[in-house]
Amino acid sequence: MAHDAHESHTGLIWKVFGLLSVITIVEVIFGILKPESLHLTQFLGTSLLNWLFLILTLVKAYYIAWYFMHLKQEKTSLRRAIVWTCVFLICYLTTLMLIEGGYIQDTLAPYISWSYNK
């Protein structure tokens, strides 16, 4: 047990902070500019821009969980018990609900009137 060998991780913490800030700034820049080559595309149900946001979000989540919540230092078994459970359940729920939402939209949209000329 390395109980008294608690060396400081300050350098690593600041590095992670820098990375999280850079990712946030990149997200905000893309969010403001919304380049048409990414925004007006369609790939697997949404635009490439949205996929970029999603991936960057997951990268941020990874760094927060691994380095701030110290999942990296936990036993592999505990880490998997936490991460896999969440990831599988959330993926499952999200997939079903978004497919269902898309279906309702497709079915409902033709019945919504956008014209008021009698």
Binding site: T10, T57, A61, M69, E100, G101
Partner: protein
Amino acid sequence: MESTVVTDNSNEGVWSGGGKKPFAASYGKMMMWFFIMSDALTFSGFLVAYGLMRFKFLESWPIADEVFTHVPFIHGHFPMYYVAFMTFILIFSSVTMVLAVDAGHQMKKGKVTIYMLLTIIGGLIFLGSQAWEWKNFINGTYGAVVLQDGKIAQFVDNEGHQIALSDFVVKENIERVQHTRSNGLWYVQDAGELPPYTLNEVITSFNANPNVNLRTEKIDASIKQKTVLSRAEASTYLTKATDVVMGANLKVNEYGKTLFADFFFFITGFHGFHVFSGILINVIIFFNVILGTYEKRGSYEMIEKVGLYWHFVDLVWVFVFTFFYLV
């Protein structure tokens, strides 16, 4: 024989689950992870519900860039900047928290105290920012009219930029009285605040001003922007208008779908409540650090457990930020 029954009398009366440490995690830490897991799934439920409703109304959902455009002390249209600032504050308070945990491992009481204080301050700034964001959302920016079927129609200028009602509506010289239950009308519900203009004033001013156009909630899929109507079509819309809306609440929302406001209030509210309780817990721990509770205990593990919760709140915000402001 001792392998099956563990009796650890030394910890009697202490809520620690005995000496066993599954996954090499202490009882308190394990329970914090249990809580975080359940809370993570709760938030997932909320966000997935938001996703379901958004996909259901994909062609008419409000565009976040047009809703959250305020920056303190500056007038104008600045999407994203303020919420980016809020995100930054929360990440930074996460950093000071993890620095406190780090200092705790090395039993440095002074450093833990300072970093805990910074974390609390970061939390308070975030909470204040959120309150300000809510205030802007509730008070509204432009104002709109609501049609008889609940659709929202907003006003734009010739370039398609949204304009406020106060930019073109001329007030008529009439007296308007707010009906309340207290002045004898016991059979009516107290309506909300009177909107700044009457429907009549809005329609008259619209007809008198050819530079104003009407915009519907429907998103033009080819440019991913709301559809602007022709002047002729706009007047047929306005004949179906029933009310003037200013701002957003749980019943009506000048920015579009009321559901958007409902989810915004509920999810950011629930998250804000987490931040609030996080600050409360941090304050308690902060005083414990000053009093030397953990110094006497010989371990600063409590900072780590509270830190887990605080980081989790940050983690949730990362997702709320993505789904409410970016995507």
